[in-house]
């Protein structure tokens, strides 16, 4: 009864203070004929008011049901309309707020001092930007009170957002947006998708009930991390809890995933004062127990949330509101300290990425230079929009660019990950046609419209009646794709064909430096590495007791997106085994070793140092272009140059070597096979395969 009285008083207060309204108050005398219904409606009001008055706006969505029931009884009450609008404004159904604010205003134009601001918000979130502008501008003339400057600042920001939105809606980007389906999404909030570079694994956060989340707190189940993989038909398997080593009774949320899908960043809430980042690795036994990322990343009393690894795994980008922030949450980075085996001191990324507002949802693309993040501080449509920025030659970041409407919307758009190809993006969104609450969606970037090709013909030769069709014009196409190659491999024992745990070293041959190394999945022998375009990569696969295997990928800067799949068969170190040294380079018709060969030679040298009894034969092979005699001599000289390096620079005894030139006698691909190839590039590739240096174990 006491609560009922409070509710009635509140409603009467609204009505009397702002007066001159057509609002129908919740008064017993008005609803004499509907006593029982009135009583129930007031009870609903009471319940809703309890939440509205005593809890933060993020909880107000829980008041909607009761307010709606009261509204069904008396839709003409201005304060009720206003409050219901407010509740919707703070829910996933933001655009529904508009109707209630409009009705509240109609019933009583003086309902609240900020009604024009709320109307502006309603219009803004309903993508009615011109109307929103009008309301915000009226609000600017009506601001009073202590917070006048802050409110003016906020309103002006929203006005700017509306102006930006008007422009962005005029120039939408072409996308398809597809719900990821029932195997991924649930009737509960599903969000924060993290995707492996090849889109074969998705890990995401869900607030659905589970063995770890059995009760709702504040109307929501706790966050849990789920995983799903593509099946053989490239469909998502049913999402499942990721691991009992990762899922906990409290909130556990995905923060980031390495491009190869083998390293996972998890956010664990640590009470009122914040939460921290942890890392879990995929191991033979499954996902490891997450480890704290350490003091240089996590700090007490700060929210250290989203994380993303650089393509080479050497730098960690993360979000934190710790001391040193430019305002709110910022993006920071920390480099891996190989000596101390920990993440080093963190640095705020600064301008132009971070602003006085919030930057969250960091995602580093495997191309090694593009960052995606969400911000409410950059030029956007409202709330959080998604931005990209590219690392420049001097390692600075370009001015962030809004990814564009309709991916960015007036609502909060956070957590966006992009496939290696750059064609697909994954994010969460609330849509009426979804599975319920927030769902995960895949965006397909269509790029600019593909222009059709037309043909004409002319009678260019007057005396010949047959017209000449216009020659095919090979126009350069504008293709929205990343300059990146993905190497997807599987490492197996050459004899048993069983998967091997191996280390994959990635080197920049032109600089002679080791870029990074990765472990294969021991269970499957699989690995995935990103090779951003513009480098000559040496890839070496090593496993104990086996000869190393080398591959070369010379990827031009404008190569576009390519995927390579390799099955690497590792040979045991034993007499008679041989391997091709793919990263030993010579200039055309010369036998001097090019500097790019250094990493491979060092590898070979190390093998000889590690195995002092090893004696090997180096052989040079050429293609069949040029005379046989010439090729014979050239191949011999080249084999000799390798031995000279290992002896002269490496200090290995010459007696441990034999070398020979094989010339063109032992091609990997025969001339007959090459002759059958259609394109010039295929043929050249085949010749390149035949030009090689090999070594064979003579004694061990």
């Amino acid at each position: 009864m006491k609560k009922l009285t409070i509710a009635l008083l509140t409603l009467v207060f609204f009505s009397s203070v702002y007066g001159q309204d057509n609002s129908v108050p919740f008064e017993k005398s008005i609803f004499k004929e509907r006593k029982d219904e009135f009583k129930i409606a007031v009870e609903h009001m009471e319940n809703a008011e309890e939440i509205y008055e005593n809890y933060p706006p993020s909880m107000w969505s829980q008041a909607i049901d009761d307010f709606e029931k009261a509204y069904a009884f008396n839709p003409k009450n201005a304060p009720l309309n206003y409050k219901l609008g407010d509740c919707y404004l703070n829910s996933n159904y933001k655009s529904k707020s508009l109707k209630f604010f409009q009705d509240a205003y109609k019933l009583n134009p003086s309902i609240q001092q900020d009604i024009h601001f709320k109307l502006g918000r309603g219009y803004h979130l309903s993508s009615m930007f011109e109307m929103a502008l009008k309301e915000y501008k009226i609000h600017l003339t009506k601001i009073t009170g202590k917070e006048i400057e802050a409110e003016k600042k906020l309103t002006n920001k929203l006005i700017r957002e509306c102006n930006t939105a008007i422009e962005m809606v005029k120039n939408p980007i072409r996308v398809w947006v597809d719900n990821l389906g029932k195997n991924i999404n649930s009737p509960f909030p599903d969000y924060a998708a993290q995707i492996s570079a090849d889109e074969s694994v998705i890990i995401y956060t869900s607030r659905r009930p589970s063995e770890y989340s059995t009760e709702q707190i504040g109307g929501m189940y706790n966050e849990d991390i789920y995983i799903s993989e593509r099946d053989e038909n490239w469909e998502w398997t049913k999402g499942r809890l990721i691991s009992d080593r990762i899922n906990v009774k409290d909130n556990d949320a995905i923060s980031g995933l390495s491009p190869d899908g083998n390293s996972l960043f998890v956010y664990y809430h640590s009470g009122k004062d914040g939460g921290n980042l942890y890392q879990s690795q995929k191991t033979e036994e499954g996902w490891s127990k997450p480890k704290d990322l350490g003091k240089n990343v996590n700090t007490n009393k700060s929210w250290d949330t989203d994380a993303s690894l650089s393509y080479d795994g050497k730098r960690l980008y993360f979000v934190s509101d710790k001391e040193g922030t430019k305002g709110g949450r910022d993006i920071w980075y920390s480099d891996w300290d190989a000596e101390k085996e920990m993440w080093g001191k963190s640095t705020n990324l600064g301008a132009p990425i971070n602003t006085e507002y919030d930057e969250v949802g960091i995602f580093m693309h495997p191309d090694g230079k593009t960052m995606y993040f969400s911000s409410n501080g950059h030029k956007g449509m409202g709330s959080f929009d998604i931005y990209s920025s590219e690392m420049q030659a001097d390692s600075s970041w370009s001015e962030p660019v809004n990814i564009g409407y309709p991916v960015s919307t007036p609502d909060a758009d956070v957590f966006f990950s992009v496939s290696a190809s750059g064609i697909h993006g994954y994010y969460s969104s609330f849509r009426e046609d979804g599975e319920g609450e927030k769902d995960l969606y895949m965006i397909t970037f269509l790029g600019k419209p593909k222009k059709p090709l037309l043909s004409g013909e002319d009678n260019l030769i007057a005396s010949i009646t047959k017209p000449i069709v216009e020659e095919i014009v090979q126009t350069k196409l504008d293709v929205h794709v990343k300059n990146l190659s993905l190497l997807k491999g599987k490492v197996l024992d050459a004899e048993t064909k069983k998967p091997l745990l191996a280390t994959v070293e990635m080197s920049d041959n032109s600089k002679g430096e080791l870029l990074s190394n990765f472990k294969t999945e021991s269970e499957s022998g699989k690995f995935l590495i990103s090779l951003p375009a513009g480098k000559n990569y040496g890839i070496a696969v090593k496993s104990e007791g086996y000869l190393f295997h080398s591959e070369n990928f010379d990827i031009p800067a404008d190569a576009g997106y390519q995927e390579y799949e390799k099955v690497i068969l590792m040979k045991k170190v034993k007499v008679g085994e041989s391997i091709v040294l793919r990263n030993i380079f010579f200039d055309l018709d010369k036998y001097e070793l090019k500097p790019e060969s250094k990493t491979e030679l060092d590898r070979l040298l190390q093998l000889l140092i590690d195995n002092p009894t090893l004696e090997i034969e180096i052989s040079g092979h050429t293609d069949t272009q040029g005379s046989a005699a010439y090729n014979q001599k050239l191949s011999e000289d080249r084999a000799g140059a390798v031995v000279d390096f290992l002896v002269g620079i490496g200090g290995i005894g010459r007696e441990r070597f034999e070398f020979k030139g094989v010339g063109e006698a032992q091609p990997i691909i025969s001339d007959a096979e090459i002759a059958k190839m259609k394109s010039k590039s295929q043929k050249e590739e085949a010749h390149a395969q035949n030009r090689r240096t090999e070594f064979k174990i003579l004694k061990f």
């Binding site: 002319d458 260019l460 090979q474 997106y561």
Partner: protein, 363 residues
């Protein structure tokens, strides 16, 4: 008597001269017979007279009778080259090409400077597109009459067809220098300029060509295409329209005008032209493909696929139609088939097909 004899010879000589001049018609043969009866005509004179009778038959399109007369004339005088030449002309009319060529070749053998025979042989091979057989005769004809514009023109065409554009240009230059109103040569030289990307020079030549002969619809069409390539769409449309005014069944010009409208962004007018071109030429693959492009622009994907299908049915090697069908299928979210189409267009020589294939079809 001697006087009389002299008079008779002189009279016959005058008659022969008149006959050779073609001034005496076949119906005058009675008169000639009478003359013959006066003292007898020699074979040479009789051959000429018979030849003239043959010409009359030929002009009356009675080719078999003409051939018979030419044969008689040649029996009387095997060296009468004109009779061989005309017999060849008659054979050609009767479709006995080999006999015709044989006669003309004999003419050249008998008289190496008999230019008419060269001209006919050149025309014969040229029109058949048999430039290999044409060339030796053309070379000799050029030596016989280096000032004849049409020989240089023919030579230009032969170079043009074999894509030897620099040589073609030299020949056309020569042809135009000898006859600045050679509308054909001006048209063709412009064609070379188009191929070389020198559109201003092409436009200049096309404009001179239509000034020299304003009835050549194809020159207006070509001029339109040069303007279109220069993105001067209004001028292009005007020029195509002129071509269509001269020949309202000219599907090529109508299709080209559609392309100009398309480039100008007037897709409905473009579609109307492609419709018209198709109605004039039901197997016009290019127009189907172009109309598919309009449908793509209008995002009418199914109609685009349908028109591309027709274009491909007509010409299974038509790379553009596969490429465009790929675009439409992609937008219909039939990516597998879109990929197949882009790949096919690449196999047919369109690099753009490969670019799309690599971008969208990697998986």
């Amino acid at each position: 008597m001697i006087f009389y004899e002299d008079m008779r010879i002189k009279l016959l000589s005058i008659i022969c001269l008149l006959l050779i001049g073609g001034n005496i018609k076949a119906q005058d043969s009675t008169f000639i017979n009478k003359l013959d009866s006066l003292g007898g005509l020699d074979d040479s004179t009789k051959a000429i007279m018979t030849y003239n009778e043959g010409l009359d038959f030929m002009n009356s399109k009675k080719y078999s009778e003409a051939i018979s007369k030419f044969n008689s004339a040649l029996t009387l005088n095997p060296g009468l080259v004109d009779a061989k030449f005309s017999r060849g002309m008659s054979y050609m009319q009767l479709g006995s090409d080999d006999k015709a060529i044989g006669d003309w070749q004999t003419c050249i053998k008998d008289s190496a400077s008999y230019e008419k025979a060269y001209t006919e042989i050149i025309s014969y091979y040229f029109n058949k597109g048999d430039y290999k057989n044409c060339k030796p005769y053309l070379d000799k004809a050029k030596v016989l009459n280096p000032k004849e514009s049409k020989y240089h023109y023919n030579e230009g065409v032969m170079h043009f067809v074999s894509n030897n554009l620099d040589s073609a240009l030299l020949s056309y230059n020569q042809a135009i220098q000898l006859n600045s109103k050679n509308a054909y040569a001006l048209n063709d030289r412009a064609g070379i300029y188009v191929k070389q990307g020198e559109l201003d020079k092409a436009i200049q030549d096309y404009e001179n060509s239509v000034k020299a002969d304003g009835k050549l619809s194809f020159v207006y069409n070509n001029l339109g295409s040069a303007y279109r390539k220069k993105e001067l769409y209004d001028k292009a449309i005007a020029s195509y329209t002129k071509a269509v005014e001269l020949d309202d069944k000219y599907a090529i010009a109508i299709n080209n005008r559609g392309m100009a409208y398309f480039a100008k962004g007037e897709v409905d007018k473009a579609k109307a032209d492609f419709d018209k071109a198709i109605s004039l030429k039901i197997d016009y693959a290019l127009a189907y493909n172009n109309r598919a492009s309009v449908y793509i622009q209008k995002e009418e994907w199914n109609l685009a696929v349908k028109d591309c299908n027709r274009a491909i049915e007509i010409d299974s090697e038509y790379a553009y139609a596969y490429y465009n069908r790929g675009i439409a299928k992609e937008m219909l979210r039939d990516l597998d088939n879109a990929c197949q189409d882009w790949n096919k267009s690449y196999e047919l020589g369109l690099d753009a097909g490969k670019t799309h294939f690599n971008t969208w079809c990697n998986r």
